[in-house]
Each structure stands twice: as C-alpha cells, then as structure tokens.
C-alpha cells in the first residue's frame, strides 16, 4: 500500500507527467470558459435572441396550439429564463456535462446531440486525413525547397505555396468544382456518396464515397499544404546554419541523410503550429462542406445559424470545441513523444 503510494508520488514528480497534468487542467479550463461564453452570449446580446427564436418558431411551424405550448415549455425548461441567472448557469453546466444538448427547433423534436453525432463522422472523415496529408506533404516539400534554397524547385514552389496558403479552402473548392465537375465532368457535383447507394461496407458504397471524396479532400489538402510548406522552408533555412550541419557536411554525409537530420530538428514548431491551427482548419473545412453539399457538421452549423436554432448552435459548437480540445491534446502528446528534451526531462515546459 505504502509502496504503491510512493510509486504514484514518484510518477507525479516526473516532468512529463507534471506537464501532462498541467495541459489537461488548462484544456479543462478553456472548455469551461467556452461553455460559459456559450451560456452568456444569448443573455448578454441586446434584443433577446431567445424570444426572437420563439417568435420565429411560432411563425414558421404552422403549429397547432398544443405544439406551440410544447415548444414554449421546452424552451422555458432548456433555457430556464424565468429563473435567476446563477441557477440557469448551474443547470446549463449540469446538462452540458451530462451530454444533454437540448432539442433542435428547426428539426423539432430531434435531439441536438443525436443530430451532431450523425453529421460529425462525415466531417471528421474528411478533416483528419486531409489535415494529416497536407501537413506531411507541405512539410516535406517545404523542407526540400529550403534545403536547396534558391534552386529551381524552391523558385517554383515558393510562389505557388504562398498563393495557396492565402487561398480560402472554400474558394479553392469552388474553383476545383467548377473546373473538374462542371467543365470537365470528371467528378460528381456534390454530396458524400451516390444518391442511389445506402451507406454500408460494400464495395459499391466505398468506391462511390471515394469518388465523391476526391475534390473536397484535394481542396483542403492543397490550400493547407501551402502554409506548411512556407513555414517549414524557413525553419529548414534557419536550421542549416547550425554547426552540426557544417560538420556533417564536411564529413561527407549524403544529402539524403543530412536532410533527414535537418528535417527532424526543425519539424517541432510545425507540430505546435498544427495544434494552434486546428481551429482555423476546422472552420475552413466546415465552409468547404457547404460548397460540396457535403452532409457534415458544416451543413448543421449553417442550418442552425440561418434559422436561429439556438439550442443547435450551442450544442454543435460545444461538441466541435470539445473535438478540437481532444485533437489538441493528441497533438501535444505527439509533441511530448517526439521532443527529446521533454522525453528525457531536460526541460519542464
């Protein structure tokens, strides 16, 4: 018993574990702040958006008196507007923790959590591979360009990456859709799979899925890779000034080997960059989904925003943010694993 405790205490003192705990606490705090903002916004904004929403529902629903009363009751329950705000807040936090995100009004009476979890897989299926591929491709190309700074490859890559890095995903999506689907008729005009197939693990569905996947995937990969390439190029140029590079060069190390070392030593800031940019990447890809009529969370957000469906707005954003936090944590874990200084406890931060 005592020995076990000592082991735990020893574990807690290890810098990696300390760092991990601090990270988790920090992420927990930011989630808490975000949930609080979600709670506070509709109550702070002048003009009472919630009453507005109720009026909106009553107008568009062509509702029977019973339904109106049901909706009104739910609204009162979920937002608890008649109670003092601190009670509302505690209730809200409790419901969020229990995963009860309320009822959608534009798709009444479906639950927000159920809706989000139907749409989220499509978003993640697009976003995760596209982010990873763009990160790897961008960094590799950027490193090659930086290694031969001013060479032919660098001179070709730099302007292209620069322009791509400043191109919104969704606008590139429009251009690709217009070129390859409308003009050349090589790819479908939208959706995530052919309309006559039901999602399942059949060859037909998977082939159709990939066929619909290509353009949305490419828009995100191309536009995102530009930024990574520019960043990595500069990092490699810095790194090439290190003494070890001159030393290895004078030893007659092959270019390939040397580039490997330089890459390893300059890639760390790009891992941090990935964590910092996850939100932007998510935002961009949500809008890209709209261009391709992709049935992901982007559609849900758009629908909720344009119809003032506040429970759906709150719920979708809460889950999206939670997803981002988890992704952020994963990237941080990867960082800890690959940074030798943290791994060996050389530095605490």
């Amino acid at each position: 018993m005592e020995g076990e405790k000592a082991v735990y205490r020893g574990l807690l003192k290890r810098p990696v574990v300390k760092l991990l705990i601090r990270k988790v606490v920090f992420l927990f705090i930011t989630y808490f702040v975000f949930i609080t903002i979600i709670f506070a916004l509709p109550r702070l904004v002048p003009g009472n958006p919630l009453a507005e929403m109720l009026a909106n529902i009553l107008q568009t629903m062509q509702a029977t008196p019973e339904l109106v009363r049901a909706v009104e009751r739910r609204l009162m329950e979920e937002f608890g507007l008649h109670k003092p705000w601190h009670e509302q807040y505690i209730e809200f936090l409790g419901r969020m923790l229990r995963g009860d995100l309320g009822t959608s009004y534009s798709l009444y009476p479906r639950k927000v959590s159920e809706l989000v979890f139907t749409y989220l897989p499509w978003t993640l299926g697009l976003l995760i591979p596209a982010t990873l591929v763009s990160w790897i491709a961008g960094n590799t190309l950027g490193a090659l360009a930086g290694y031969r700074r001013g060479g032919r490859f660098d001179n070709a890559l730099l302007p292209v990456s620069l322009i791509l890095s400043q191109t919104p995903y969704y606008w590139l999506a429009m251009i690709l859709l217009y070129t390859f689907s409308v003009k050349l008729r090589l790819f479908p005009l939208g959706g995530a799979y052919p309309s006559h197939v039901v999602p399942s693990f059949t060859l037909e569905f998977i082939a159709g899925y990939l066929y619909h996947y290509t353009l949305p995937f490419l828009s995100i990969v191309l536009a995102a890779a530009g930024g990574w390439a520019i960043g990595m190029r500069v990092l490699v140029i810095y790194e090439l000034r290190s003494d070890y590079v001159d030393f290895a060069d004078s030893l007659g190390l092959s270019d390939r080997k040397l580039l490997q070392y330089v890459f390893k030593n300059s890639v760390l800031p790009q891992v941090t960059g990935l964590a910092l940019n996850l939100g932007t990447i998510l935002g961009g890809s949500l809008i890209t989904e709209l261009v391709f009529s992709y049935p992901g969370t982007g559609y849900l957000v758009f629908r909720a925003l344009t119809r003032l469906d506040y429970p759906m707005i709150q719920g979708t954003f809460a889950i999206l943010f939670l997803t981002l936090i988890l992704a952020n944590f994963l990237v941080d874990l990867v960082y800890m694993v690959i940074d030798p200084r943290i791994r060996t406890g050389y530095i605490g931060e």
Binding site: W171, V182, G279, G283
Partner: protein, 280 residues
C-alpha cells in the same frame, strides 16, 4: 536614420510589388464606385449574363451588375479588414505591453487570460457571437473579428518587450528614475514600431479572410456588399454548378491577391529586420 531604412525597404522588390498591389486595390475600392456608378444592388439587367461591354463582369441571378458589387465589395472588405485589425491591435498591444512592462502578478494574470483566449478557436468564437445579432453592420462585424483575434499579438508584443527591457538603454532610463509609462513610450515603442506594423498587416489579412468566412456561413454583414457576401450569394444560388464563373472567380481572386500581398509585405519586413534570414 529612419528615412534611410525606408529607402532600403523600398528597394526590396517583393515589398514594393506587394505594396503596389495593395495600393492599387485600395484605390479601386475608394474611387471605383464613383468612376463606375452602376448601382450594385439594383436588379435591372438580364440575369446571369456573361461578361459583356455593358456589364464587364456579367450579372448575377437577380440581374445585378457583378463589377459594381466587386468595387463596393473591395471597399467594404478593406474597411472591415482595417477596422477589425486596428481593434485587435489596440487590445493586443495594450495587454501585451501592460504585461511586459508591469511584470509580476499582472503579467501572470494577463497572460493566463491571453492563453485561454488563444486556445479558443477564433473562427468558432466569431461565428458564435455573430449568430446572436440579428442585424450586423460593418462596425459590429469588425468588432466581433477584432475582439477574437488579438491574443497572438499580445503574446508577441510582450515577448518583444521582455527582450528589449533587458537592453542597456532601458536600464539607464530606469536608473534615471523615469516612470514605467515614460520608458514604455520613449524607449520601447519606437523600437517596436516595425514589429507592430507587421502585426497590423497580418491582422488585416486575417480579418478580411474572417469576414469572408463569416459571410459564407451566413453571419456576415446583413446589408451591403463585401467580397464575402458576394461569395455567399454565389454559393447560395449555385453559381458554381450553373457555370457562372464571373460571379465567384473575381471576389475570390481579389481576396487572395490582397491577403498574399499583405503576407509578402510582412515577410519582406521580417527578413529585413531580422538578419537571421538574410543570405547564407
């Protein structure tokens, strides 16, 4: 001395070309609507006409002139980009310099707040805030963008200040008994002017992108034209699938040109002021 620096900066090709593009688009945005007085919101032309001598960039599905929308849109996007970046810069510089100059507990509190806001994805935050306003004028959109995009500036300004503070001339001022405020204004700020200008440039490109993103998802300005609003209508009315390229290609291209030029300006300045990148 500063004029020599300016002269040298203007010799950087990248910088001057990018600046020329920005100034040209600024000029187009400011003067264009008066030179080309067609009303961007009046649906008086034949809908979905390709570019012609009457409508140089064609018309949209309502029969509105696309060029007129583009000219007003450039003006609006630049306006929102500029106001939003000034707001973000003011918040970021204020928080960063108070934290950097005061140090101690003030620094710790301010930086914790900054780190939390930095961890909140600004695009989600913007969408969320914008969603609760029924009418969104350009100033409101600028404020929403401004109050969500300052944290990295605060951190960068603080880091710069800390490194400057350790220099000798600041120690001398301190020994002379100057107040924190005087040190900040007389010693620190002039040394950071270039740096702050770079931040402004990057914020501005980010803000114009943010405006477009907000508009695309349906929570941009509620009245008027901007580059983002043009893309929104093109998207809503299926311009891409119906082959109306003249409707969505121009606003996107202008957006990319503006943003890429701003990035180039900041890169050129960065290379000039931090010699680590020069030559090998």
């Amino acid at each position: 001395m500063p004029s020599r620096i300016l002269l040298e900066i203007f010799k950087i090709k990248k910088f001057t070309i990018s600046l020329a593009i920005i100034l040209l688009l600024l000029f187009i945005g400011l003067v264009g609507p008066s030179i080309y007085p067609t009303d961007p919101f009046e649906a008086v032309f034949r809908p979905e006409d390709p570019p012609s001598s009457k409508n140089p960039l064609g018309t949209d599905s309502y029969g509105r002139d696309v060029l007129a929308q583009l000219l007003h849109g450039i003006r609006m996007s630049l306006y929102i980009g500029f106001t939003a970046s000034l707001i973000a810069l003011a918040i970021g510089v204020a928080i960063g310099s108070i934290a950097g100059v005061k140090g101690g507990l003030t620094d710790e509190v301010l930086m914790s707040v900054t780190n939390v806001v930095l961890a909140l994805p600004s695009i989600l935050l913007m969408l969320l805030i914008a969603a609760y306003f029924k009418y969104r004028d350009p100033m409101l959109v600028s404020i929403i963008i401004g109050v969500t995009s300052w944290p990295w500036v605060a951190r960068a300004v603080r880091a710069q200040l800390l490194s400057l503070r350790a220099r000798e001339f600041v120690h001398f001022s301190r020994m002379a008994g100057y107040s924190d405020f005087r040190i900040a204004v007389e010693d620190l700020l002039p040394n950071m002017a270039a740096y702050i200008f770079m931040a402004l440039v990057l914020l501005m490109s980010g803000a114009m992108m943010a405006e477009a993103g907000l508009s695309m998802i349906g929570v941009g300005i509620t009245r008027g034209a901007s580059l983002g609003i043009m893309l929104y209508w093109a998207q809503m009315l299926e311009a891409v699938r119906r082959g109306l390229w003249w409707w969505f290609v121009p606003p996107g291209s202008v957006l990319v040109a503006l943003s890429a030029s701003l990035l180039m300006i900041s890169t050129a300045l960065d290379e000039y002021f931090s010699p680590r990148l020069k030559g090998r």
